[in-house]
């Protein structure tokens, strides 16, 4: 970055994304409470005055000490000696500020257990390869067909900066389609302009277990809509431990790809090899032996949105 460029460099508070401005802008509210400010100033001034007084009193104390010593030498032994009030000057900082234990916790290892090669996750459900269909929605509900140990229900959620249909937390049945051959039901999601991280339609493949779909070579689904979406296939390695994954730091950078949708129904086929991380998290090679979930994400720049998904399956 040259000096000339620095001169032109504008602050993230003005030119950053809405997310960046929101996080950074929170620091602008940093200010001490007025009463704490007043107390602190009074205490510093008080401590300064006391220190100055001690500075003036010190020569007096030394004189008194000398006088007392001389008196002790001159007086006959056995006479009571004067008590000398001598004390060390307290450290102002120590007397005015709280002391904290200096116990620093040892740093947790920052290295992921998966950084140097694949480590099988456990417990694991394994797809045998005979039933690739994940969900065709023809049963009219949002539960996965119980095929190859898959289970779970579709969920939607968003960053609460706008609204979407179906609403997060609601039960939403698959909706009737029009004009896609023999298929009658699909999932429909639509929403307004979101500003933080957007909205997501997601399914866990095998709740509380990781899922081995390595017998397949990717996923495929039919979709239509406007704009674009980002299908992701999330591995346990990018999910933090608190949510059942194994990621220790820089988590949630899932593998996926951005797809431009068309107004008419189209089949989208995504081989594992085309799924990429976005780059903000720990880089983990994709491995279909430890899948966690499949999600259809819409980032703020992809909103408002309106799309349909149907016949999601693994691809051979």
């Amino acid at each position: 970055m040259s000096q000339e460029k620095d001169a032109e460099l504008s602050r993230l508070l003005r030119t950053g994304s809405e997310l960046e401005k929101g996080v950074l802008g929170s620091a602008l509210e940093d200010r001490p409470a007025p009463e704490r400010r007043k107390d602190a100033i009074a205490q510093v001034l008080d401590a300064t005055r006391k220190r100055r007084e001690r500075r003036w009193l010190a020569p007096v104390g030394i004189s008194a000490l000398c006088a007392a010593a001389a008196t002790a030498l001159l007086l006959p032994h056995g006479s009571p000696r004067p008590a000398l009030p001598v004390s060390a000057e307290p450290t102002p900082a120590a007397s005015l500020t709280k002391t904290h234990p200096a116990a620093s916790a040892p740093n947790a290892s920052s290295a992921s257990a998966f950084a140097n090669g694949f480590m099988p996750c456990s417990p694991v459900s394994v797809a045998e390869g005979g039933s690739p269909l994940i969900d065709d929605f023809e049963d009219g509900d949002t539960r996965l067909p119980l095929l190859e140990h898959r289970a779970g229900s579709w969920v939607v959620f968003n960053d609460a900066t706008s609204t979407q249909q179906p609403r997060p937390g609601s039960m939403f049945p698959a909706q009737r389609l029009d004009g896609r051959g023999s298929s009658h039901f699909g999932l429909h999601m639509a929403g307004g302009k979101f500003t933080k991280w957007g909205a997501t339609l997601a399914i866990e493949l095998s709740p509380r277990r990781c899922y081995d779909a390595s017998v397949y070579r990717g996923i495929e689904f039919w979709a239509r809509g406007h704009g674009s979406i980002r299908p992701t296939v999330k591995m346990t390695q990018v999910v933090s431990e608190e949510y059942g994954g194994s990621c220790l730091h820089d988590c949630f950078d899932a593998h996926g790809t951005v797809l431009a949708l068309a107004r008419d129904w189209r089949l989208y086929r995504l081989p594992w090899s085309e799924l990429k991380q976005r780059g903000f998290g720990e880089q983990v090679p994709f491995d279909a032996r430890s899948l966690f979930s499949i999600e259809f994400q819409v980032a703020p720049e992809q909103t408002p949105f309106d799309f349909w998904i149907d016949d999601l399956s693994f691809a051979k």
Partner: protein
């Protein structure tokens, strides 16, 4: 980050040589013969600057209160040696040193992982706004935790105090090129971290 302390102390040590810095306006000249008046002027003029610098250098609000006091106690002892016009630099250097020392002992005590809403309520009475600010501030703290103190100091001075790169170089006693590279690294770190935090929120949102 414990590992950043030696670097921060070295940085703070380089700041000992006072150099004037133009912005923002310095307190008015000290009335003759009154150290206390000068000290009071400094506290009136710079208390908030020191407090928010300490917050942004990684201390919690409650620790920033104590640490600000500690900075001004140092100032009160060294006042005769602080040249008029170089107060801001001296204050930031002292704040940096105090912050790095305190961070060694205060790293993420469990009870400190969240602050009370009171810590964010000054001037923001709308409860929803307070909650949003508190959440965003926690996110910023998490991001700052991943930066070393030298990067963080440059980032804070540029992005929040709105100093220019040459001004920061002068303030920190560091070459302009070094400030630029630290700023670039800090911005990259910040932008990636914001994405991670929101990816995490996006993931967690469906599992609450």
């Amino acid at each position: 980050m414990v590992g950043d302390v030696p670097g921060a102390l070295a940085l703070a040590a380089r700041l000992r040589d006072p150099l004037p810095l133009s912005a923002p306006p310095e307190p008015k000249s000290t009335p003759a013969g009154t150290e206390e008046a000068r000290l009071r002027q400094l506290m009136d003029g710079y208390f908030d600057f020191v407090w928010r610098s300490l917050r942004r250098l990684g201390l919690l609000a409650s620790d920033a209160d104590d640490a600000t006091q500690e900075v001004f106690l140092v100032v009160s002892r060294k006042l005769p040696q602080i040249l008029v016009g170089s107060e801001r630099r001296f204050l930031f250097a002292t704040a940096l040193r105090v912050a790095s020392t305190r961070r060694r002992g205060l790293r993420r005590r469990p009870e400190d992982s969240s602050e009370t809403l009171d810590d964010h309520q000054h001037g923001a009475p709308d409860p929803e706004r307070v909650l949003q600010l508190a959440q965003a501030r926690r996110e910023l703290d998490q991001i700052f935790d991943g930066m070393d103190l030298e990067q963080r100091a440059v980032f804070v001075l540029f992005e929040l105090e709105e100093l220019t790169v040459p001004e920061i170089a002068s303030l920190l006693g560091t070459p302009v090129g070094t400030v630029s590279s630290r700023l670039r690294a800090a911005r990259e770190h910040f932008q990636a971290a914001v994405k991670r935090l929101h990816a995490r929120a996006a993931f967690a949102g469906g599992r609450s």
